[in-house]
Symmetry: C2
Subunit: 611 residues, 2 copies
């Protein structure tokens, strides 16, 4: 049986940066294994740099943060080893009340929220200007990825630093050459990076990011009067032989995100421990514990794989269909398409604005673009570009995965609970969220053949054990939904597998308490058919809505307003997310936001009894 | 008396590009003068390039468009002179059914919508890929500005063109060295632009953009197998001596937007005609017409100047207040602040994402940033950055001017009717739109002293002759408004000077028809106080809402949903913008969207009578 191993606080000393980093790698690996997810590759490529900065460079007034953010498990290990973070927190990565999956200012030692790429230098400039205005000392150090350099904001942020003579910033590029999916150079070749960065007026230096002497020498040579960039050449997954780089013969990097299985964990930990003991010249005193048991889900619905198949099927009959991706080919389910239709697959890199406007150009010239990213990024980073496309009245299908409150692990930069609001008013754009694999099929067909305008397809990425079944004769008709349970005491309208599942279970319990609730699946997020709504609400005194989204600007708001306008007044209550999402396990997060079945029962009973 | 002069279609020939461009300058100037607004400086800097492309380069399968878009009066003149646009349309610039203030695909010869900067190369890539996939001939030519190079999307779009081997694109940078407000180099120095662009892997050439031989030579030398950029050195305002460059001793360029006064028009036209006659070697046969009369408004409310003063007053008592601008220092009313507090004024350039994230860094380090741009850009380009800041729970004030449907002249890229929707769900962000100068003062005070979280201040930029007066004891209280007229047959809730003025006039007329309407100013766009709403709706059978915004996601939707939840069910109807805004004169546009007082009367009577 595999056991978890970690290095206790007492084993750390500041005297040897290489050893310090080697020990932190062990704790990082174990934290990610325990959490069940996290970013190993980038944590290991940045580890030596970040450890060295904390041991040898940073003074009390200085600020350090990672712009890419997903290497935060490495930073947590370092902060814990330095006593700047309660050490036991390392065992609570991606748990409620523990350490969020991406940096959050609520955690000691984290000065700014990151998790969506490209914002770091801009924020550092703001901090440096604030220091100057307040005559406060302190330098700002920002770590960026290299895939991150595909984001336009990175380049946008370089210009004014020079014009504004902002000297108190050092940017370190963790140049590990691999982005989420594959080699950076295969997506968007950085070319002569030194020259490129120099042409923006910054001082540029370069060194091996795993060589502490080189780091020391390079940092000592930086000029004080200009903004500086250090390109640190690193190796993704550095420290575990089989996690370094992309394996021979493979196209994709296997350790970008996610936790290793038990056997892989054990092999990796063996290597890391052996290396640390070599540096230490003796035996490490490790602490150990059991691997947390994973709940095995029963039969579940997996919407992204279902989408993957539906897309392929649609592409076979529709030659105009082209697919655009922003470095999430795996997470968005696009590998089968990319392999089958390489000419019609456009990898845009981490460049969502560019991707969306490219889709605009494609649509203007007769193609049917399907545009992909995580919902959180796709709905907001290129928000204006989506609107611009809409004003051309072309047809484009936007597909946002990882939608909604769950998974709770990655934290609020990735928990997409604002996309309905930010997209619902885009003219001609219909927002649609399927509730099961079968509805994914229907939604893709509708997007290709049924929709006259553009479509935003909102996909939950986590597998969900769905207890309901759509009616056998169910078809997608714009603005209409279907009841999943019968009841005339209240209607509870929702969408998508996560919330409908909670609603369904709540309805079972409420029925046992005498309140019969009609749970209704309405996959249309910004459309409702008046006649259907009238029928659905007929004879029902209460209308509850349940959003996998902020209450503000969600489907519920749209429904209540429509009902009011149609003269279908009911007692009504909107349920949904009402504050910035917590990070943690999925069950923890549903509970924390009072959106699990038990909370729904309590809230619905409370509302109906107090009326 | 000044008369308008223009060159008739019969005077144009394709034989002499210099003469062709000279004649088009006359027609461009006159079209802008007749319209009362438009962009002279950039139309004149790009004129020679665009004329030359149309006369000598473009083949039938090729596509040309301007990414910066505001030089479209020059393009209209050229297309009209070539017979590709009905010539008489030139007299209908910025009029309903005429030529929009920024490019729109509804106009013959316009292949894509532009008006917000930085999207052009991305779109061109999409078009080129579509050509390749469909085995269609055709090259894509894109004109960009040089200030436009501050937008991150420009740089974001360069990378993948090289990786994807997109050869069929030529970008021409209209390098006139002046952006909206001032010299590009004072905002964000482009440095060695040739080298910078080359470092992204593009072929770069450079020439004088007013020298037709140089253009011919340069274009002939471009390689066919790579994406190409031609940096064309030009002069902003080229062709009229006193419109060229920034006048000696001045900081700002005077002819970026807006129409010249009568005397300036006459002097400019004299110069342009004299130059054309010199090239022609004879007398030009010009057509003439009267300058359209301008309606003189009575006493009006001007919100941006009021904001300008209120900001200065607030900054005097609050030393943490810093101001960030994105190249709209004049339009956003920031010149007095910049002059009085140069250290606390940060000109970010046309780089909204960078600006917003800088504000995030400033706020994290104890400052109170006020962030400015046009509402259309500020609410959508940095939409994700605003959300990221919100998750840090700092306080930032965003100020979006040019908000709402009017002015109608610039077209839908600038008519901001989607910002409430795209921002309303940002946690802790309160959206607020003042209805008169007095309420601007109150709103700035509240933003600085009253608000615990961040604020989005939505400002109408056009002067409005406001017929109502806020109650003498009026104060801003979150979620509460004030009645401007009395009546118990219906409540009509709205905000801001444009719509409240129409509502007020409608109420007068409705009263004469026996329907007494309570017009209510609710400046809070995403907040409502339950007790206040209950009081406001007490005894009123009808609730009408009127949004200077899309109906979807507007204040009305929020209000109807809140009323439903509070058990305040009324017959209800939401009025507002329900399709992509038309471009035209302000009165024309209100009428076209059925939001002028007369239409409101008709729609309200129709609703109440049919009930």
């Amino acid at each position: 049986m595999t056991t978890l191993r970690w290095v206790p606080l007492s084993a750390f000393s500041r005297s040897n940066p290489a050893l310090f980093a080697a020990l932190c790698r062990i704790n990082t690996l174990t934290a990610i294994k325990r959490a069940g997810s996290g970013h190993i590759g980038t944590s290991f490529s940045s580890m030596d740099i970040v450890a060295w900065l904390h041991l040898r460079v940073l003074r009390p007034d200085d600020v350090y943060f990672s712009s890419k953010g997903h290497d935060v498990p490495a930073l947590y290990s370092i902060l814990a080893a330095l006593g700047r973070l309660p050490f036991e927190k390392l065992h609570e990565l991606r748990r409620l009340g523990g350490l969020p999956g991406h940096p959050d200012v609520g955690t000691p030692g984290i000065p700014t929220n990151t998790g969506s790429l490209g914002m770091g230098i801009s924020k550092a400039k703001g901090m440096a200007i604030a220091n100057r205005l307040q005559r406060r000392a302190g330098h700002v150090y920002v770590l960026t990825g290299d895939g991150e350099l595909q984001e336009g904001q990175f380049w946008e942020s370089l210009h004014s630093a020079v014009n504004q003579k902002i000297a108190g910033i050092t940017v370190i590029v963790d140049h590990n050459k691999i982005q989420s999916d594959t080699w950076v150079q295969d997506v968007a070749h950085l070319g002569d990076l030194d020259r490129k960065l120099e042409s923006f007026g910054w001082h540029v230096a370069r060194c091996n990011g795993h060589d502490f002497d080189a780091l020391a020498h390079t940092f000592a040579s930086l000029p004080a009067d200009r903004p500086r960039i250090v390109i640190a050449d690193t190796i993704k997954g550095r420290g575990v032989s089989f996690m370094e780089q992309i394996a021979p013969g493979e196209k994709l990097y296997r350790f970008h995100s996610g936790a290793p299985d038990d056997e892989t964990y054990a092999r990796a930990a063996d290597e890391l421990v052996a290396n640390a003991e070599r540096l230490l010249g003796g035996k490490l005193a490790l602490e150990t514990g059991p691997v947390p048991e994973k709940k095995r889900a029963p039969a579940v619905e997996r919407l992204v794989p279902a989408y993957s198949k539906a897309l392929l099927r649609a592409a076979e009959v529709e030659p105009k269909l082209v697919v655009l991706d922003a470095d999430l080919v795996l997470d968005c389910g696009l590998i089968p398409f990319a392999e089958k239709f390489p000419d019609r697959f456009i990898e845009c890199g981490i460049a969502e604005q560019d991707m969306v406007s490219q889709a605009g150009g494609l649509a203007l010239r007769g193609m049917l673009p399907f545009v992909h990213s995580f919902a959180c990024f796709l709905s907001s980073r290129p928000n204006e570009q989506i609107y611009n496309n809409a004003t051309e009245r072309t047809k484009i299908v936007y597909v946002g995965s990882l939608a909604g409150l769950l998974p709770g692990g990655p934290g609020h930069s990735h928990q997409c609970v604002r996309d309905i609001s930010s997209l619902a008013a885009v003219p001609g754009l219909t927002l649609l969220e399927p509730s099961c694999e079968r509805e994914v099929d229907l939604a893709v067909d509708w997007a290709v053949q049924g929709a006259s305008g553009s479509v935003y397809l909102r996909l939950v990425s986590i597998p969900v054990p769905v207890p309901y079944r759509l009616p056998d004769d169910y078809r997608l008709t714009e603005g209409r939904g279907a009841a999943l349970t019968e009841g005339s005491d209240a209607a509870l309208v929702s969408y998508g597998p996560v919330m409908l599942t909670q609603a369904w279970h709540a309805a079972q319990e409420l029925a046992s308490k005498g309140l019969r609730v009609r749970v209704v699946n309405l996959p249309w997020l910004n459309r409702v058919d008046p006649a259907w709504l009238a029928g659905t609400l007929a004879g029902v005194p209460w209308l509850f809505t349940l959003d996998n989204h902020y209450v503000a600007g969600g489907q519920g708001e749209m429904l209540l307003a429509a009902a009011a306008e149609l003269g279908l007044a009911k007692r009504a209550l909107r349920l949904g997310v009402d504050r910035i999402p917590e990070s943690g396990g999925n069950d923890e997060i549903l509970g924390a936001h009072e959106l699990d079945a038990g909370s729904l029962v309590r809230r619905i009973l409370s509302a109906t009894r107090s009326a």
